[in-house]
């Protein structure tokens, strides 16, 4: 399962993703997609070095998948973290065009249900 590596930037807490250039981006779409476990382990090790350098905190690996032709986080928690609150589309990465291109959706009310 492919992964990306994420962390929070120390100075302001903003969610960031490790890029292929070994840099950190606020934009999920710039995250390096790690094809296998070995790549994930190596990327996380690099992230931990940046933790040591006090650039980021709490680095970890996020499982991603391809949905509608786009790379997106698999878990809802990570999808929300990569986009922003689902109840405030004006806040977070989604407001700055930095969210995954296929983000978490609002829940649609069940209309036809047999009781």
């Amino acid at each position: 399962m492919p992964d990306v590596v994420t962390a929070s930037r120390l100075a302001d807490g903003v969610v960031v993703f490790l890029t292929a250039e070994r840099d950190w981006s606020e934009d999920f779409n710039r995250a390096a997609v790690l094809a296998d476990a070995a790549a994930s382990v190596a990327a996380l090790a690099r992230a931990k070095e940046d933790e040591e350098q006090n650039l980021v905190v709490d680095a970890y690996v996020v499982a991603v998948e391809i949905r509608n032709g786009h790379v997106v986080p698999k878990a809802l928690r990570e999808a929300i973290r990569a986009a922003g609150p689902t109840i405030r589309r004006d806040l977070g990465k989604q407001a700055e065009g930095h969210a995954p291109l296929s983000g978490p959706t609002a829940v649609v009310e069940a209309e036809h249900v047999s009781l």
Binding site: A11, D12, V14, L76, R77, P85, T86, E109, V113, L115
Partner: protein
């Protein structure tokens, strides 16, 4: 309200500078995250899903206009233009930068506010009835005791590294509006037969993954023994509370494992063994602190206002507001006004900077400069003259704060849930929004009557779901949000933990399940005067289970 003296001001200022130094050392790398984390938590700073989160204490829920304006200023200058009022009478900002937090705390110190002990394994913000000092059913104002406890517990060297967090609530009225039995210590102000003030003391309440109601350890604790007895409780807990497992570390577990009689005996033994004079609470000191909370001089007014009656006659929405959001004041001719932060479809407890400023202006113009924050995530204007009510209502309406739904089905408590919280397992705010939209604020909501829905996005239960008449707990199962429903919980003087109604519901269906529960109640109630809670206590779970599961042949509705 209480005002800092020189000692308080110097204490808070020193704390800000200490934290400024800690933040600088963290940013420079002198402190590791592991070393820094306990410091930031003791100053209310978390790292959440999207950003840092700063939790600021509103001691016993009382604010003045200057403080409210400062919160608005912080929201604009350092955050994203809004704040979130919580079930612990705190306010949380969801987007502050670590590097800015010392400046934010310095700004707060200017208006006698801080974030000390809003997190960490220490004694947290002491909460109280949000109608303190103005309620018509009050025995005594609980806030002087809460303030004494705040001063005593701030940076208390013996109790700064407890096994786990420790929450104290004080209620001064006959009706419990502070959910005291859901706290580690719950204090109910009472008078004994001689007319002396004291407390009935409950210990070991708490929600979370293992909910327990507080058990009564003392029927009557004399006022002067308040600190000594609380110290004895904390000393027993500090020594014997479990430190090997954070999920079993609260005093409620100690109570459960040792039994009420054993724990009470240990507390009493500890209390008896100490030198009573050391922590004696002299009546003069209580009187000194109480003087800060003395009610303002209120001009005598007629108990009925022609202006209000005329407006009620021609404006149905104002009449609804009057019926739901306005309650009697101890002083005739005045009312206590609930400012609902539950506009239909809005996130419960959120207020924009403009709304905060508007409430500050109203407090200054019409409510003796006071605002309250309720644990139900609303604001309260405690001293409104009845004649002023139409003007107050109009100004609230102009900033979207006149929702006439206090105490109704759409006045829902919801924790931030997975939209913000790093611990959450499911979203809670969207469920609250959808329920509110489903029932609205019109005739349907009114016909349902008083009903408290409380929603938590994980088992830590910040949304108090265990004590909701209808409680909703958001969980994650196989990657999907799922919602477990409990019924019959209550956070008042008849406190009860809700009972799980059955298997959980998907996000799509949980609102329909709530609707089914409400319709079942309306079908079986003995009349409009029988509330949901009363009806539930009469009939139990069975009719609701049947409506939810059997009629739908075991499907997820």
């Amino acid at each position: 309200m209480y005002h800092y003296d020189d000692f308080d001001q110097a204490f808070v200022a020193a704390r800000v500078e200490q934290f400024r130094d800690q933040v600088a050392r963290r940013l420079s790398g002198e402190l590791t995250e592991e070393q820094f984390r306990p410091h930031r938590l003791m100053n209310g700073l978390y790292l959440q899903l999207h950003c840092y989160m700063l939790r600021i204490a509103v001691p016993y829920g009382t604010l003045n206009s200057r403080q409210m304006r400062k919160l608005a200023e912080i929201a604009r200058r350092y955050d994203r233009g809004y704040g979130h009022f919580t079930t612990r009478q705190n306010i949380q900002f969801n987007w502050p930068a670590l590097k800015d937090t010392p400046d934010i705390l310095a700004e707060l110190a200017k208006v006698e506010m801080h974030a000390i002990q809003t997190s960490g394994n220490c004694i947290r913000n002491v909460t109280a009835d949000h109608y303190a000092g103005v309620a018509d059913d009050e025995i005594a104002d609980p806030r002087p005791y809460a303030e004494i406890l705040r001063q005593w517990s701030s940076l208390h060297p013996e109790f700064s590294f407890l096994p786990r967090k420790f929450k104290i609530a004080v209620n001064g009225a006959r009706h419990d509006r502070a959910v005291i039995q859901a706290h580690d210590i719950g204090l109910q102000v009472v008078r004994n037969d001689a007319g002396e003030l004291g407390f009935t003391v409950y210990v070991g309440g708490g929600l979370g993954r293992t909910p327990f109601l507080g058990r009564k350890v003392r029927d009557f604790l004399p006022e002067r023994d308040l600190l000594g007895y609380i110290e004895a409780i904390l000393r027993v807990y500090n020594l014997e509370g479990r430190r090997d497992n954070k999920y079993k570390a609260r005093i409620k577990i100690l109570m459960h494992e040792k039994s009420l009689d054993t724990l009470r005996a240990e507390i009493e033994a500890e209390f008896s063994a100490r030198d009573r004079k050391l922590l004696d609470l002299p009546a003069e000191e209580v009187a000194r602190v109480r003087a800060f909370f003395a009610p303002p001089e209120l001009e005598a007014k007629k108990p009925v206002s022609d202006r209000v009656e005329r407006r009620k006659g021609k404006d149905a929405r104002f009449a609804s507001f009057f019926a739901a959001n306005v309650r009697p004041h101890r002083q005739p001719g005045y009312v206590v006004v609930t400012v609902s932060l539950k506009a239909i479809g809005a996130p419960p407890g959120d207020a924009s900077a403009d709304q905060m400023d508007a409430v500050a202006d109203l407090a200054e113009d019409y409510s003796h400069d006071e605002v309250r924050v309720s644990h139900e995530q609303n604001l309260v204007l405690p001293y409104v003259a009845l004649d002023d009510l139409p003007a107050v209502y109009d100004r609230l309406a102009s900033v979207g704060l006149a929702e006439p739904n206090a105490g109704q089905i759409s006045d829902i408590i919801a924790c931030p849930g997975l939209d913000y919280c790093a611990l959450a397992t499911a979203r809670s705010i969207p469920i609250a929004q959808r329920i509110a939209q489903k029932f609205g604020d019109g005739a349907r909501a009114k016909s349902v009557g008083p009903l408290k829905i409380k929603i938590s996005g994980c088992i830590n239960a910040c949304g108090h779901h265990h004590v909701g008449h209808i409680g909703i707990l958001g969980l994650e199962r196989a990657g999907e949000e799922t919602y477990q429903i409990t019924l019959g919980g209550s956070g008042d003087e008849t406190a009860a933990i809700g009972q799980i109604v059955g298997p959980g519901f998907s996000s799509e269906n949980v609102v329909l399940a709530v609707e089914t529960i409400v319709e079942t109640y309306m079908g079986l109630r003995l009349g409009e005067e029988e509330t949901f809670l009363e009806a539930f206590r009469r009939v139990g779970l069975a009719p609701f289970k049947e409506a939810l599961y059997e009629r739908s042949a075991g499907q997820d509705i």
